[in-house]
């Protein structure tokens, strides 16, 4: 079976604290680059540590990442900006 990640409870609360700090930065600064970076970093922390994705087999990591990112990229980069041309 998959390798059991040897996390301590403390490491989850460290992740929680970092998530809070990023949320605060997004709230207080709120510029577009900060928001975009903040969302991506928060999502990465949740997926990698809370969902243990970082410790799964590479095949699963790539399946999830390519599945979500490829389609999201098409929607957000190719489709959504067309709204400005309407």
């Amino acid at each position: 079976m998959s390798q059991k990640a040897t996390h301590s409870y403390g490491s989850y609360w460290i992740a929680w604290f970092i998530l809070l700090l990023i949320t605060l930065a997004m709230l207080l600064i709120g510029s577009k680059p900060i928001l975009a970076a903040g969302m991506v970093i928060k999502a990465a922390i949740i997926a990698m540590f809370f969902m243990h994705l970082a410790f799964e087999k590479k095949s699963l990591i790539y399946t999830v990442l390519i599945g979500i990112f490829a389609t999201t990229a098409v929607l957000v980069v190719l489709v959504a900006p067309d709204g400005a041309a309407m």
Partner: protein, 201 residues
Amino acid sequence: MTEVHAVAPDEMEAPIFLISWQKLMMWGFIITDALLFAGYLASYMFTRLASDVGWPAQSEIFDMNFIALMTFTLITSSATMACAVKAASEGDRKLTRRYLLLTILIGTAFLGMQAIEWSHFIGDGARLTGNPWGASGFSAYFFMMTGFHGTHVLIGVVILLITFLRTTPERLIADKVEVAGLYWHFVDLVWVFIFGCFYLL
């Protein structure tokens, strides 16, 4: 008659993902569900960019401190859920149940705040078809996106409640707790994007 080969265990092909099928199914569901929300967010951005009337300023309509509190609540519930999965993997029933119950309570608190948020918004005159502040898509997307997310949270609370009840003093199903945890973290992950794209952008 065709020959039947007995396959020795070491000759068998290793499973591609090395995880239980339940967990693999949950990941499959998460990928497709993520695409559902990606579709919403993309169509939201499209509508916002294409809108002829100005987009309302969110910070003048929503109480941002309250939204921040909701975000804090959901992130905290994700952390307690991670602890529940950890406790379950170590076979600690009592601690698993404690963390599961904590997660359920915090998740329910989030749902309550969502309800307060909706009643304020509706009380201010927002409807699915329009709102007093400008572009009609603003309230339509608010109800659709937070509504779908809230439904996910509600389903998550039900799943956690079932997991909690099934984790009796006699048995602990670490796998089930882990799969329920995956779903719960995913709901938190979706909120990250709703919070960033809808409330802050």
